[in-house]
């Protein structure tokens, strides 16, 4: 009896410490972001200026779009390596439609679409790429890594083919053809806030809502947590997988549109290696590559950490080589801490037992 009471108190003190540790660990990405911002605002003048902040968030937004799509894919236990290439392809599709129009050979006509139509077609192309990924993965049981690796090459090749490897320049459109306004996507503002940031806020909220409050969201987590149990519970596993890859393609197409618009030109190589940054942002934000765990909020903060770190280092004049080394260290450290948290979590679970 004596032993019981003594160890009981000792246990509860210990478990309080554990709880606190858990809380700090759960907020780790936030803390990392805070530290990064504080460090750069001391070291780099103008870092905290409004103008600089907006520029940084605009950079971050590109990665964040991809990372949001990637998060859902990773939560289902998959991976999507093709999003960077879809960014390039989407830019080229939009650029091509504005610069060259759609040429239909046998009727010998060239159609120039209005801007909303261009955007819709581009988004549809992104979704179609994702659907192809999903189809290969669900219908033919191709491993996600391989299926999307294939799409990585196919989409990039298609982007290069569209212009024979050249850039579509000066995508302002012409009054006569009625397809002006494309640069507005990248440079426009709503109430003084850059449009890309507005889109990010809307997409982020929608994705977070989807994850937390809809049946589809619950199904995404269950597929990643235990596919067999999900199947036996009546979750339509293949549909869920189709959705996440199509959504990732959709997000990539948005990023492609915005990059092309910001540059007022589309280059077939744009978006190269972006898929890796997106994976890094998701992982940094606490998404588990084993599936079943991750949040949209975490991912966006993860993207902010990577983006702010990158831009801050540029402002301080750190060499690009060192930038790569430091980014790599941050990503690996994030996964190590994640693993540590999981060990701790199982100990807390034991304590609650």
């Amino acid at each position: 009896m004596n032993i019981n009471t003594v160890s009981g108190t000792a246990g509860s003190v210990k478990s309080n410490n554990l709880q606190l540790g858990m809380l700090l660990l759960k907020l780790r990405t936030f803390i990392a972001l805070f530290l990064v911002v504080v460090y750069f605002s001391i070291m780099a003048p103008n870092f905290l200026s409004m103008a600089n902040m907006l520029i940084m968030v605009k950079h971050v937004a590109i990665y964040a779009f991809l990372a949001i799509g990637m998060t859902f894919v990773i939560i289902t236990g998959g991976i999507d390596l093709s999003v960077g290439s879809i960014v390039g392809l989407a830019g080229m599709v939009a650029g091509g439609l504005i610069y060259n129009g759609l040429h239909i050979p046998f009727m010998n006509v060239t159609i120039y679409f209005h801007l909303p139509m261009v955007i819709l077609i581009t988004l549809a192309v992104g979704i179609a790429c994702g659907a192809l990924n999903g189809f290969l993965i669900t219908r033919f049981k191709v491993a996600p890594f391989i299926a999307t690796l294939g799409l990585l090459y196919i989409a990039r090749g298609a982007a290069l083919l569209l212009s024979d490897g050249k850039t579509f320049p000066n995508l302002v459109g012409s009054e006569k053809l009625g397809n002006t306004g494309f640069p507005w996507l990248g440079s426009g503002t709503i109430l003084g806030i850059p449009l890309s940031i507005c889109i990010l806020v809307v997409l982020g909220l929608a994705a977070a809502y989807l994850a937390k409050c809809t049946p589809l969201g619950r199904h995404i987590y269950s597929v990643g947590g235990n596919e067999r149990a999900a199947l036996l519970s009546g979750v339509r596993v293949n549909r869920v997988k189709m959705f996440v890859y199509m959504f990732a393609g959709f997000c990539a197409a948005i990023a492609g549109l915005i990059i092309a618009s910001q540059l007022v030109a589309s280059h077939p190589a744009s978006g190269e290696t972006f898929e890796l940054t997106a994976i890094a942002a998701a992982v940094l934000g606490g998404t588990s590559l084993a599936g079943g765990r991750g949040t949209i909020g975490g991912t966006i903060i993860g993207a902010l950490v990577i983006g702010v770190l990158g831009d801050g280092m540029v402002m301080m004049g750190v060499s690009t080589f060192w930038q790569m080394v430091i980014k790599g260290i941050v990503i690996v450290a994030a996964v190590v801490v994640d693993q540590f948290q999981r060990d701790l979590q199982s100990r807390v679970a034991l304590a609650e037992d």
Partner: protein
């Protein structure tokens, strides 16, 4: 205790205490392992049996206390320490590599290799086959473990432990996945091991089994040692009284509530096997509202496959499945759930639960659509349903937001049942619903089954435990090699009839093979 008896103790655990943050798993427990005897360890889930055996096997290190092997203090701090003292353990969870073959699994990490690099597959397979034959297990040593049924995998696990020259063999619920025939073989093997001087520590929830096989019994409750006694002095009620602390009548009873109104009809259901023949062989049966139909059969009799067919998991199924006269044979799992079928799978961990999610999310996984408005989940409605289910099934859980993995086996099983019930099924399919849960939780599960049947649900349940099937079923169906080989009302069924029917198909095939 006399000096003489002390000499017969090969391993002695003294005053073992194990603390986890916030809990005392073991509180000053003494445990004796008698030489060449079967030392039974019982207790409800959470009593500390697994912790104690893990300490003996070097998986866990005690917070306090000593282990004495042959009277000498020893420190066992790792699996390798334990192995070097000749202590081996068969864990409750299967620890096999599904991607390797049986022989490779048996000799994993101590491969028979020439010059330490070239694995001698031929010798390994020969040795493995010898071990399997000794277990009378009809398993090919070159078969992939992934292709074996759980019962067969359990046999491989036992063979793996036998391959080590163990002096003390710890078996944590070795029979939970075995059929009656396989259990008999295992008991013969245990008898054989005893003759060779191997001491056995044996954990099981099947009390009749313990009385049959055990020589000494130790009862744990809430981390405390309750009693130690030679098995010949005690009986099942004594064990239960010490385990649960009172003399509650936990006998399972069932009064028939069948309405005679047909809810499920299965016509000519069949599932072809890749290697020819049928896994589910032209089955015909019906189920009424409020009826409990028990299906008994050995491993590989096609019971689980039958459930898979009924749930729409097998695409190649032929024949008809009708719910209230509506044909639902072709369709996805989701369609079948909507039609009113729900499955409690055999393997809770692998098929029933999503470990990374909490209790609430696991429980509502099948029925989440019920709580939505457009695409929005109505949280208050969902919370209320989960709370009602938790109290209905008396699930012991601090909050619905607790991770599912922190619950005991019995409570996890209740969550799986809750998940099925939230879909408001008309027919409930339960595959080994009491596997690996303690006596108290078993009683609860049967109580729930009775309550549901009384509410008009049709229940089909599969079990390998004769006592259970005799007690709770209105009607008993016996399967063997995919066929129905016997069907009895409870009143007319005897254990002998059921066992005979479950083996009948096997004799036929043996004849046809030779």
């Amino acid at each position: 205790m006399s000096e003489n008896e002390n000499g017969n103790i090969i391993l002695k655990a003294r005053d073992i205490t194990k603390l986890y943050p916030g809990t005392v798993a073991l509180n000053g427990v003494d445990f004796n392992v008698y030489r060449g005897k079967v030392n039974v360890l019982v207790g409800e889930n959470g009593a500390g049996k697994s912790t104690l055996t893990k300490i003996l096997a070097g998986v866990e290190v005690p917070t306090k206390g000593v282990l004495q092997l042959e009277g000498e203090d020893v420190r066992i701090q790792s699996f390798h320490d334990a192995a070097s003292y000749g202590i081996g353990m068969i864990h409750q969870e299967l620890n096999l590599f599904p991607n390797m073959n049986v022989a490779e699994n048996i000799f994993v990490a101590r491969e028979i290799a020439t010059a330490g690099i070239h694995i001698d597959h031929k010798t390994q397979v020969e040795h493995a086959q010898k071990l399997l034959d000794r277990l009378e297990a009809d398993i090919d040593a070159t078969a992939q473990v992934a292709d074996l049924r759980i019962g067969q995998q359990q046999m491989v696990e036992i063979a793996k432990a036998l391959a080590l020259d163990t002096r003390i063999l710890i078996m944590d619920e070795p029979t939970s996945a075995l059929s009656a025939a396989e259990v008999d073989v295992l008991f013969r093997v245990i008898g054989d091991l005893k003759k060779h001087g191997v001491s056995i520590v044996y954990i099981s929830h099947r009390l009749e089994e313990l009385v049959k096989i055990g020589d000494y019994i130790t009862v744990l409750r809430d981390g405390n040692l309750m009693q130690e006694a030679p098995m010949k002095d005690i009986d099942v009620p004594w064990i239960i009284a010490n385990m649960v602390g009172d003399d509650n009548d936990r006998e399972i009873k069932h009064a028939s509530t069948s309405t005679g109104e047909e809810v499920l009809r299965v016509e000519n259901l069949r599932l072809a096997r890749v290697s020819g023949g049928f896994t589910v062989d032209h089955l015909n049966f019906t189920l009424c509202r409020g009826e409990i139909l028990g299906i008994y059969g050995l491993m590989g009799a096609g019971r689980s496959e039958l459930f898979e067919c009924l749930m729409g998991l097998q695409k190649e199924v032929k024949g008809n499945v009708l719910i209230e006269g509506k044909d639902i044979t072709i369709g996805t799992v989701d369609d079948h759930i909507r039609a009113g079928l729900a499955l409690i799978p055999e393997d809770r961990q692998r098929e029933g639960l999503v470990q990374v999610l909490d209790v609430s999310n696991n429980m509502t996984l099948s029925s989440i659509r019920k709580f939505r408005k457009w695409i929005h989940i109505q949280n208050d409605k969902l919370k209320k349903a989960v709370h009602t289910m938790i109290s209905d099934l008396s699930i012991k859980v601090a909050s619905p937001q607790v991770l599912i993995s922190s619950l005991s086996g019995g409570n996890q099983q209740k969550v799986v049942i809750g998940k099925a019930l939230l879909t408001e099924p008309k027919v409930l399919l339960m595959d080994e619903p009491t596997r690996g849960i303690d006596v108290g939780a078993k009683g609860d599960v049967f109580g729930i089954m009775n309550k549901l049947a009384a509410r008009g649900l049709g229940i089909i349940f599969v079990t390998s435990e004769l006592k259970e099937i005799m007690a709770i079923s209105d009607r008993i169906m016996v399967m063997s090699k995919g066929k129905i080989t016997g069907e009895y009302l409870r009143e007319e069924a005897t254990e002998e009839m059921i066992v005979a029917a479950s083996a009948s198909g096997h004799k036929v095939t043996e004849h046809s093979l030779h």
